[in-house]
């Protein structure tokens, strides 16, 4: 490509015999760089085509100076393919601003199309109004980075729409703190239209006969649940209700206490439940008392329960002596468990684990 380029230059030189002074060249180059700050990859190719004829003529007399800057590709910069956003960071003010907010550009560009989108943004026009909007909702600036990393597409939404969605939430009597938590924990929430959010909140309210207060508690506790895959939630609810046999009343307390259960793959949930119910011998009522049991991985439950059984301390009946609360079993790391719950030492626990 370079050869053809040089060949073109020599041909043009023969035809035109046009010489320019280097002052002008520098001026035009500077202008071009102004553009490259703002322009987007799609447009860049157009710009490049416009500039080409002049650039060819201009570049020729300046060849000696060009040698000094070996890496400066001139107009060809537009054609050099880039593989990540990092290649543009030094030249783009927007990306630099995002970087200083703590946005993880690396994880944005891994998702399809988002790299292109972020590159097209202009900080003053596209980003700043949204940041002021978010800070108006009481979100601290420390969380901006994490939020934008997760969901840069929020800059695509209309500000009025966002305001409507916030107003809708306020009309549902969500407190300011609750909203703050919801928006930081689940940056996708604001992407959903009021109608969609309303339908989903309605689903949870009807399915579990929740009061308004409980529903707000549920949504605030696990904001990701509301925008979660509905098919998955339906499956989980089926598993909880039909396969495990929790009654409606029990399900209600279970859901409000640990909404996360509905986001766990149903197969895992059944596995855990069958271990807790059949092997550890806990009744439904006891599981309702500490739903964290179902949120802990099965191997963890198994290890700890069998260790307690080995020590003869697996006694989950509160009526009798040496009662161990099931919620204590899943608490803390292994060291905490061994010292405070099993009242043993870590060497014994290690030896026990190595026999399995």
């Amino acid at each position: 490509m370079l050869c053809t380029w040089v060949r073109n230059i020599t041909r043009i030189r023969k035809i035109t015999k046009c010489y320019q002074i280097s002052e002008q060249i520098r001026h035009i180059r500077a202008l071009k760089r102004v553009q490259s700050d703002v322009i987007v990859p799609l447009e860049q190719s157009d710009v490049a085509q416009h500039d080409k004829p002049t650039e060819k003529r201009l570049a020729e007399p300046n060849e000696k100076q060009n040698n000094a800057v070996a890496l400066d590709f001139g107009i060809r910069e537009a054609h050099v393919p880039t593989f990540n956003l990092a290649a543009h960071v030094n030249n783009s003010k927007t990306l630099q601003q995002l970087l200083s907010l703590g946005v993880n550009l690396h994880s944005i560009e891994r998702r399809k199309g988002l790299g292109q989108f972020v590159l097209k943004l202009d900080f003053e026009e596209n980003v700043k109004p949204y940041l002021t909007f978010l800070s108006d909702q009481g979100i601290s600036a420390d969380d901006f980075g994490k939020m934008i990393t997760k969901n840069p597409l929020i800059f695509k939404e209309d500000l009025d729409d966002l305001q409507t969605r916030v107003d809708y939430m306020k009309s549902k009597r969500f407190s300011v703190e609750a909203l703050q938590r919801i928006f930081t924990k689940n940056p996708y929430w604001l992407m959903y239209s009021t109608r969609r959010i309303d339908r989903r909140l309605g689903y949870f309210q009807k399915e579990f006969h929740l009061s308004g207060h409980d529903l707000r508690l549920l949504a605030t506790k696990e904001p990701r649940l509301i925008t979660f895959n509905m098919e998955h939630i339906r499956k989980s609810v089926f598993t909880l209700r039909e396969e495990m046999g929790f009654s409606n009343k029990e399900l209600q307390t279970l859901i409000v206490h640990t909404p996360r259960l509905m986001m766990i793959p149903p197969d895992d949930l059944v596995e855990r439940f069958s271990y807790v119910h059949n092997d550890m011998g806990l009744s439904h009522a006891q599981i309702i008392q500490c739903p964290e049991l179902l949120a802990s991985r099965e191997f963890r439950l198994r290890e700890r329960h069998e260790f307690l059984k080995l020590l003869g301390r697996a006694q989950y009946d509160p009526q009798k002596d040496l009662y161990i609360s099931p919620s204590e079993i899943v608490q803390g790391n292994n060291f905490y468990f061994v010292r405070n719950v099993a009242k043993s030492d870590l060497e014994t626990f290690d030896l026990f684990l190595k026999t399995r």
């Binding site: 102004v34 400066d72 960071v89 630099q96 946005v103 790391n333 684990l353 399995r356």
Partner: protein
Amino acid sequence: MALTKVYDAATVFRNLNGIMNVYKPAGMKVKHVRNAILSNICKGLNELEQREPRKLPNDMRLLGTGAATDTVLHKIAANTDLSDHILASGPRYLPGDIRCAAVSTLGYHTSGVLLFGLNKGLQQSSLIQRNRPVRVYHVTARMGTATENHLPDSRVTVRANHRHLTPERISGLAASMQASHQRKMYELCGVDLQTQAAYELACKGLLRPADNSQPVVYGIKLIHFERPHFTLELHTINESEQYMAALIHDMAIELRTVAHCSQIRCIRHAHFDVSESLLRHGWHLPGIMKNLRLQQSVLEAHAQLLDQQRVDLHAAQ
């Protein structure tokens, strides 16, 4: 060598070489163990002190427009190459940066010693693999029920009585099986057991298979008996989970009952013992570094692990 505390990721990464002895839990694939360990190492490395982003060369001319509003002035002050910032270029260490290979694999239901070579330890791991050291297993069988694939998680096919079984009968069978396996080895070498050639072959040390296709059993011993379970200790090379499960099944048939494997545990791989292996809650960077050092001392104590004369077992032509 005195040990010093290190806070610098690059130094740690440079020393991340050697053999690692991991306790693989049952019900987890080797691939998943490997991924878990590599991602934990990377997490640990990325939490340590990282190198600073590169500096831009001073005469670099790609700095924007030169207008007063531009960030040029900031850049002259800082002069860091932002494209090398962690947020822009991603974490410094990724699982793909660490070379890692298992010395030999264990099945899904098997727990126990699993050796990994890390980075420069890959060479050692392939040497160990080539020397084909013996692995020792504790295989627990459950009498009375047979399952489809002889492992606990499949369907039960046959039930049978096992009241007539005593530890003596099982040990007797184990001993005779061990003897027949040993005779088989000499036959595969093409020598008669009652000859001078066989004696000389035996003097040279353990007969090992030349490739990793044929399972060879060197010892079977009953070590524990408690109805309905009994435990065998197996010394083998080139075994697989399926092979051991089938062995248990065949033994049980021979004993006029049925059984399946309820647990397979590898307790020793060459000189790498289960007592030094790293449990799941120890799979973090400090634990792994400590384990690497420990296994290095094992390697130094037993030089024959890496370099040894051996007698290959060639199938008779």
